[in-house]
Symmetry: C2
Subunit: 181 residues, 2 copies
């Protein structure tokens, strides 16, 4: 399937407003609870998205363009969001995500990537050689995996309240939980 | 887990704007494609959400309050969205969903339900007796199951483009598909 960079940017540019519309001022009963154990609340997912904007996508794009396959991407700290969320409100995290995403998209556009650039390769620490196309597509799909997660974490709070309907609600049967990225 | 009606209304009032921010003017490469076979695109899911606003939630609330357990809810046509989407653009569906949701929330607020009303029961055609609490919680969880579905359907379009990262992206491993409701 071909990769149109404008399609990727279209998705990436919409996620902050979608999460803002869903989560801002939503009661904490929804936003601060998780799925048990060390799983993440919607609040923590927002911290993770901000951390990935700072540490993952654009830094990896730059490493790929500068060093190709000669230098692996820096490892990504999956618990890096813990610093991002300290002392912050959900509203502040939503503002921050919108701000860093807009900056990163400006930076991406400023690279003036051409179609043939998407085939350039970098070195993923676990996968080995990966294309710029796959890295950028993953940036967008990563938004979607966390929107998917947030909708599931919110629904989880009503898993008993919905009574017998739980068997019909796919979101309560989801096993698609993400691993490290 | 107790059911606070205001929590449910908070969620229900946010979904239209969240879907609007995510989907409006997004390229059709994202919004018009499905997961294969007779699965739904994001466009079709929007039609289903509108159809459920007209035929499912508030009509069932009214049947429950008027007839209790003496009359079952009308069956819901899971393919009723086919009429809703004919000749419409996605923008029109987003507008329509926001309009009918706002009307229905006005109607819900106008019922002035008290906490004890939530324990009243109606008759589901398959489940038998169900509480008003469960019906209203399911209305909110149904929004979330379709937000969950839409994020998955969108991600599906990049299932190959993300290359090796597909193994890390939970949304590409999701098995939480909804049945009839």
């Amino acid at each position: 399937m071909s990769h149109d960079l404008q399609d990727t940017i279209s998705l990436l540019s919409r996620t902050p407003a979608a999460l803002d519309a869903l989560l801002r001022d939503l009661p904490e009963r929804w936003t601060q609870r998780n799925e048990g154990g060390t799983t993440w609340s919607a609040f923590e997912v927002m911290g993770h998205l901000i951390h990935a904007e700072r540490a993952d996508w654009i830094p990896r794009v730059k490493t790929l363009l500068e060093f190709g396959e000669t230098q692996p991407f820096a490892a990504f700290d999956r618990w890096g969001h813990e610093r991002e969320v300290q002392g912050k409100s959900l509203g502040q995290l939503l503002d921050e995500f919108a701000r860093v995403r807009a900056q990163n998209l400006d930076e991406l556009r400023g690279l003036h990537l051409r179609q043939e650039d998407l085939e350039k390769k970098g070195l993923h620490p676990a996968f080995g050689p990966v294309t710029l196309s796959a890295l950028l597509a993953t940036w967008a799909a990563h938004d979607l995996t966390h929107l998917h997660q947030i909708s599931r974490v919110l629904a989880y709070q009503y898993r008993e309240t919905v009574g017998p309907w739980s068997v019909y609600l796919g979101v309560l049967q989801c096993t698609g939980h993400s691993a490290a990225s």
